[in-house]
Assembly symmetry: C2
Homo-oligomer: 298 residues x 2
Amino acid sequence: MSEVARGEPAWIVDGRRWIEAALASVLPAASERPSRLHEAMRYALLGGGKRLRPALVRLLCTELGGSEAAALQPALAIELVHTYSLVHDDLPAMDDDTLRRGRPTVHVAFDEATAILVGDALLTLAFECLAGESGERAGALAGVLARAAGSQGMVGGQVLDLALEAGGAADDLDALEDMHRRKTAALFEAAAEMGAIAAGRDAATRASAAAFGRALGLLFQAVDDLLDVLSDAATLGKTPGKDAVLERATLVRALGLDGARERAAELAERTRSRARELGFGPGAPAFELAEHVLRRSS
Amino acid sequence: MSEVARGEPAWIVDGRRWIEAALASVLPAASERPSRLHEAMRYALLGGGKRLRPALVRLLCTELGGSEAAALQPALAIELVHTYSLVHDDLPAMDDDTLRRGRPTVHVAFDEATAILVGDALLTLAFECLAGESGERAGALAGVLARAAGSQGMVGGQVLDLALEAGGAADDLDALEDMHRRKTAALFEAAAEMGAIAAGRDAATRASAAAFGRALGLLFQAVDDLLDVLSDAATLGKTPGKDAVLERATLVRALGLDGARERAAELAERTRSRARELGFGPGAPAFELAEHVLRRSS
């Protein structure tokens, strides 16, 4: 898979190892009743993935002066929310995808009812993770995550995505970027802001972290649109070329391949600029991340 | 509808009025983008309902010395979670219901993708409501709600319900009551415990409140099973007799009609006993509630 390519920054590899171990233990054992549900939750959550969002929580928290331990519950929560959204997005009534991270999607490997309930349970567990945080922190983290994931964030973005496909306005750039802001960037924004909260930083730093995460999320989505055109299934771990077949709204469709590449380069520049505002210059992991994400598409 | 029958206790009527006003304002306006999603969320949440769970949060909070205002966010959260669970349970892949509270279900009135996303957004909003509570309270409330709603609570109960139907063990009383404990009673338990938390009470009172809620929830489900056999659609507001047609696991199926009535009477007695342990004797609303719920079935 592209995300384990050579040249991946050490903090992403370390962040992935760190969160993988924690993800396995945050879920009830498959032997716990109802075992089929818990088995399916483990299948959905432990089947690989870049784990970029939890790594981002950890990076921002530690680079802003917090401990790795302080980042753990928010990192778990954000990966649980991300995974639930994939499970639901893949459903027949939504994107109807059969392949995810190189394996059958949850509703294919199990069944549709189980996939709906797996998503519901993962989303709920995310907030259970945050509930145990001490003092004011539990509420602050839950508020950021809920606003990012809800009807005006990620869920709203999925609705706009489905509407763009159905409505044929798939080349409207403003509508497309509004959708990307909600569907993808909102969760990156939350990951970065949760890192700043976990580090105990003030509202100004939280806002700067959020702006950095938002730019990074838009970049990530732009690269994702490019990868769908440029990759094969083995590299991508999911069905490639599907955006075009389904007439999905993508940057490539709205701007053409070269236009989408230019837009990705602009977003990389914006991401670096936001990293600088947060105090991270060239050489700092948060600054170099833009280049790493951009390189995935070339 | 049965729940507005004469003889309904004043605190249930008052609690319903109180929460209805708050529910309308907790949701984004239907004009807010994505407007179709917000319209569907309003359709799902504002279409009537007994509002017994939020009324219970309010009752426990105020009877245990807290203010009505302190009960508001937990009451909103529990009704949002209850409503999301109805929207998802009604989906074609689950119970495939077309009628709810006397109106077409969300996936019928809108579409399946929208219904899935409405449920996701309502669940997320529930935790956003709790996130704004002050100090340690946000985390305590979110923890109780998440555990009640998650894979070992309500979502797990729905899985067990679907498995009981599919597996033909629908007359196994132990499996049935385990399912009822999770699917229905867990949320009543959470409602009562959240009331105690909102009132600022200690762990012992919280535990007693939870035990009262659990008994009440089992009683409520037993009566629900009886109502499906005894009511007509106009009274029930949803398709009656469906349990039998679908060979659903119900108390009536496991015990027969008389046996199920006896069991409901036992559960009413247990509920009164738990109310007494919590300090509420005859004449107190929490004590008299058992009789009110039981009366629905006769």
